[in-house]
């Protein structure tokens, strides 16, 4: 049984190795290989999840057997394995669902390099989820940034290059601040492993001036990761970045990469600072306010967009706001809601980004709303998939979006402060109405008869249907059996600190 404790490291090393291997394969073989090895990763991660649920505690894997203050560590609990499992499912579905566009958008000889990037990105995601060392977190954060820039610029049109430059500049500002924050924290605590850092901070947090220094370092670090994940007011790079990338990239960037940054931030709050100390600091309230602003303003911008992918990207900004709001509410209920929303949003948003280009294909290759009229009738299966994801975004019961809104509402009720509760309820109501407005408007548009009355029966590959159905199945599972997932997340949070 102890052999399972090696699996988290295997997932990272296997992904890195696969990234190198894919540079030597042809495009088609690289895709096949990527899908197969990601299935292997899913199996490994499922084993870790099963093991941690059964033993009821997290385990620490010490690399090279150097004990605590010196070595490098990996730590796996229920929370990390659950996130890793869902992220891998989303990753594999994005690769399968968007593979036709990868072949269209990329030069034939470079397709295998795209899978190299995807595999390196998987390695970075896995490492950020598992790591127990803050500097390892920084290194893989940079790898994630570089690979996400890579998957963005593979489509060689002017707009994506420009979007990539902007994305990189914002990300580099974020990385610089994150590094400064890490260095300051290292300066204060003298450690890079998370648990010894937490012990030191707990010991010195009684002193007012040291606590101020910790707050400053944490503030710098938080701003860095907020820029990278696109929290309001740093969300303006999102529409260009997600809107014109090749579908797999858009889906992976919006549903996995930005969530990884948030999870790393959450891990630092929970494990480096210690949640007891963190709740005394003013940072949570600032995140709450920024999150709520992001929810409302992101939705308002989405309402004004005239390009379907830009609308979805702005709605991403709003969903990031939800997650930060959950962290801002605090308490087990707030954190559970935030983590659940990470899962719910990643399965929904990937579905949206993978279906819109097919709708565009049925409407003269245009993503503008006025051209999309009736596209759901011209391509019924894609219309159905898009509709399901749209319903989840609006928050129709049985879908994941509904459960996460419910969790946020109940977390707000339990937050203790009446002003906070009223404010959060108002924001939830307003954002639900706005969400419903722009998604129902879109659904009506794509399902109502336009001038273009052709019934082109578009033939999609079986893999596309399978991957989209999988995403909808996970979405429904999150919605219908939300108590299973919230139970797992709560147990995971107990062993997370």
């Amino acid at each position: 049984m102890n052999f399972i404790t090696n699996f988290p490291l295997f997932t990272i090393v296997l992904s890195l190795f696969s990234g190198v291997l894919c540079t030597m394969l042809s495009g088609k073989t690289a895709r096949r290989y990527t899908v197969i090895y990601e299935c292997v990763l899913i199996a490994l991660v499922s084993c870790v999840l099963y093991y941690t649920v059964r033993t009821g505690e997290s385990f620490t894997y010490v690399m090279g057997e150097f004990p605590a203050p010196w070595g490098n560590e990996i730590r796996a609990g229920i929370l990390e394995s659950l996130l890793a499992l869902i992220f891998l499912i989303v990753m594999i579905c994005s690769v399968l669902g968007g593979s036709r566009f990868i072949d269209l958008d990329l030069d034939f000889s470079k397709v295998n390099l795209y899978y190299t990037l995807i595999n390196l990105m998987t390695a970075a995601i896995m490492a950020i989820l598992w790591t127990n060392d803050i500097f390892t977190g920084y290194v893989f954060l940079e790898i994630l940034t570089l690979t996400s820039c890579g998957v963005l610029i593979v489509r060689e049109i002017g707009r994506t290059t420009l979007a990539a430059i902007r994305y990189m500049i914002m990300n580099l500002l974020g990385s610089g601040l994150f590094l400064l924050g890490v260095v300051l924290l290292y300066d204060i605590t003298g450690n890079l492993l998370m648990i010894p850092m937490q012990e030191t901070i707990a010991r010195i947090s009684g002193d007012h001036r040291t606590l101020l220094a910790v707050t400053m370092a944490l503030g710098v670090l938080t701003i860095g990761l907020a820029i990278k994940s696109g929290l309001f007011p740093f969300h303006f790079w999102m529409p260009d970045t997600y809107g014109y990338a090749t579908p797999t990239s858009g889906s992976v960037l919006s549903s996995l990469v930005s969530k990884c940054y948030i999870f790393l931030l959450f891990k630092i709050y929970y494990r480096v600072v210690g949640i007891g100390v963190f709740e005394k600091l003013p940072i949570a309230n600032i995140l709450l306010v920024l999150g709520m602003c992001g929810i409302v303003l992101g939705s308002v911008s989405a309402l004004h967009a005239e390009h379907i992918n830009r609308m979805i990207a702005f709605s991403s900004a709003a969903q990031i706001g939800y997650i930060f709001m959950g962290i801002g509410i605090g308490g087990t209920a707030g954190y559970t809601a935030a983590i659940f929303h990470i899962l719910a949003h990643s399965v929904t948003k990937s579905l949206l980004f993978l279906t819109t280009p097919r709708l565009a294909e049925a409407s003269g290759n245009s993503l503008l709303f006025k051209k999309l009229q009736g596209s759901g009738l011209r391509d019924p299966s894609t219309g159905f998939f898009f509709g399901a994801a749209g319903f989840s975004m609006i928050g129709i019961p049985i879908f994941a979006g509904f459960s996460s809104k419910l969790l946020f509402a109940s977390a707000a009720v339990g937050s203790g402060s009446r002003y906070k509760m009223v404010l959060i309820m108002i924001v939830l109501a307003v954002s639900s109405v706005l969400n419903a407005l722009y998604f129902i408007r879109t659904l009506i548009r794509i399902f109502s008869e336009g001038e273009d009355k052709r019934r082109t029966t578009v033939k999609h590959g079986a893999l596309y249907a399978v991957s989209m159905s999988t995403l909808i199945a996970v979405n429904l599972a999150l919605g219908l059996f939300s108590w299973v997932f919230t139970g797992l997340i709560e147990k995971g949070l107990q062993m997370f600190g």
Partner: protein, 126 residues
């Protein structure tokens, strides 16, 4: 306050450098100057780490004269972190330079506002 700043002048300079680099990366219009700002920002962080990691009067942790007492040596970890940071910074700069070249080939300018202006007139639907 001022005495503290003077005593830690290396760290103060490092943070000022970080600020200069940060504002350059954020506000410069010329792409190449932005990249120089990025490098100044990273260098500021490295200077901070290096100066914090060095303790006056101690030596690099290599045993040559049989002294095994840890108090005689400095901690090698900050230097290791600086090296890692430099590697990251170099690779990021390389990818940014290649992006800059690609943009220049397409728009024949390095001024970002001009590039934005030109990209507005493009019609690429998907």
């Amino acid at each position: 306050m001022l005495a503290n700043l003077l005593a830690n002048y290396e760290e103060a300079v490092a943070v000022i450098l970080f600020g200069i680099g940060f504002t350059m990366l954020l506000f410069q219009n010329n792409l190449f100057k932005k990249l120089i700002g990025l490098n100044i920002m990273d260098t500021g962080t490295f200077l901070f780490l290096a100066s914090m990691g060095y303790i006056r009067g101690r030596k690099a942790p290599i045993i040559t004269d049989g002294v095994t007492d840890a108090a005689a040596y400095i901690n090698p970890v900050p230097a290791g972190l600086v090296l890692t940071g430099i590697v990251v910074s170099v690779s990021v700069t390389a990818i940014m330079l290649s992006l800059t070249v690609r943009l220049y080939r397409r728009y024949h300018t390095l001024q970002l506002d001009e590039i934005y202006e030109m990209s507005k007139h493009q019609t690429e639907d998907r």
